[in-house]
Symmetry: C2
Subunit: 255 residues, 2 copies
């Protein structure tokens, strides 16, 4: 099988490894909505998560960072492996992926796309305003879609997205979140909205504030949000030292 | 490259996928010690974690369960993916793995072992007394070794073990542990020893008991441990309903 060597913006004479792919669930937060970055395939009209393959001489983390740099323009991304998707049937489709994507017959790379891929899932948390979405060679749109507006995605990409969300939700029970998703200064209400969109439910305003302050990862600033109707809400930022400690040791501290 | 088709107890005419392997960190608990299952390679004298490859028609989870069934005799194992190890240099060795393992010139499978493998790490928690360790075709010993007695392992297997431990330690800050490691009935002191060996440090007896009881996942039994000097300690078992709830939602409950 011939692996496609020039499917990236940088033309390289390297080959991709057989059987290994990666898919990324990129979360952003804007206007109190959790959003996911998706691409629209030219040939099939399907929506997909950003993804790619691994060169023979790179690690899967390097590959994921390379893929996301091309899709978002960002260099330093908060990126975590969360699961490997390896159902032997996950890429069996009719018509085949290669038929659809490469429009076929005399494309030497077509058969490469028809092999079985085991995909490593990553999730990324990015600051929405800094992302410049870029389609890849096979797609004509790359854009943010509100989590609750995501429809049917290609192959098992809905399952990949759901597993990423499940991982984030569990993570919220023991680790802080927000540093990579919110602007530097934010209100307690904006932080609560972030949690609400991840959990998909409303949270009690007072309980949330009490619990969050008890974790001791926020610094209250001497500023208020300007231009808001009624009472101007106070601004917070994360205390990065205690935030990092909570990431390492869990929100409840050491045993 | 020819993939080895008959490297398992069941002779199969299936091929393994190129480039994908799996490694398992199997934890057991006995005599107040956390133990890890390791194999001793016949040809190289090296110690390794139990591992294997993935057949063309199976998922990585099915492969991991198959490998562990052969190594431990156990069918239903608590098994979790925790990380993918993909450093391109991880399997570069001199002499090559194939030279060492297959003692090689005319062995058709030798070159297959020399390719680059991306390995999916799993950790397993098993009840020590039920395991019957079995070496594989390339090893002459399969046995439990105390965590603090594990020396240099092959390739990056020490890093795989350390990452599994780090995962377990973080998990203890938000999820219960013990159900798959302890016998059905246990004392508070036995449960604390389990936590102590995972953390690698002593924990305060009173604090531990207070914290653990507050999680409401234990049922106190109307029995004591017999044949113990001095005061006979009370026995507990896990309340499986609340234990499962704590696994799903985290020990601190829902937001």
């Amino acid at each position: 099988m011939t692996s496609p060597v020039e499917m990236d913006i940088k033309k390289e004479s390297r080959n991709y490894l057989d059987h290994i792919s990666l898919d990324c669930v990129v979360f952003g937060f804007h206007s109190n909505q959790l959003k996911v970055l998706v691409l629209h395939m030219k040939k099939t009209g399907e929506w997909v998560l950003p993804g790619g393959f691994v060169y023979e001489d790179e690690s899967i983390e390097v590959a994921a960072n390379r893929v996301l740099k091309v899709r978002t323009g960002l260099d330093q991304i908060f990126l975590r492996q969360f699961n490997v998707f390896s159902d032997p049937q996950r890429s069996n489709r009719n018509p085949t992926v290669a038929d659809l994507l490469m429009s076929g017959q005399d494309h030497p790379e077509a058969s490469w796309f028809n092999q079985r891929f085991i995909s490593v899932g990553f999730y990324a948390l990015v600051e929405y305003s800094q992302v410049q979405p870029q389609p890849d060679e096979l797609s004509d749109i790359c854009e943010w879609v509100n989590l609750d507006k995501i429809g049917k995605l290609m192959m098992d990409h809905n399952a990949i997205l759901n597993k990423a969300l499940e991982t984030l939700r569990l993570q919220l029970t023991f680790q802080p979140i927000g540093y990579n998703l919110l602007p530097e200064k934010f209100t307690m209400s904006e932080l609560r909205k972030l949690y609400e969109t991840i959990f998909g439910k409303e949270l009690d305003r007072r309980n949330f504030q009490r619990k969050m302050l008890a974790y001791d990862i926020l610094s209250r600033l001497d500023e208020v949000r300007q231009g808001v109707a009624h009472k101007s809400p106070g601004l917070y930022k994360f205390n990065l030292e205690s935030y990092q400690k909570a990431l390492d040791e869990g929100l409840n501290g050491k045993w």
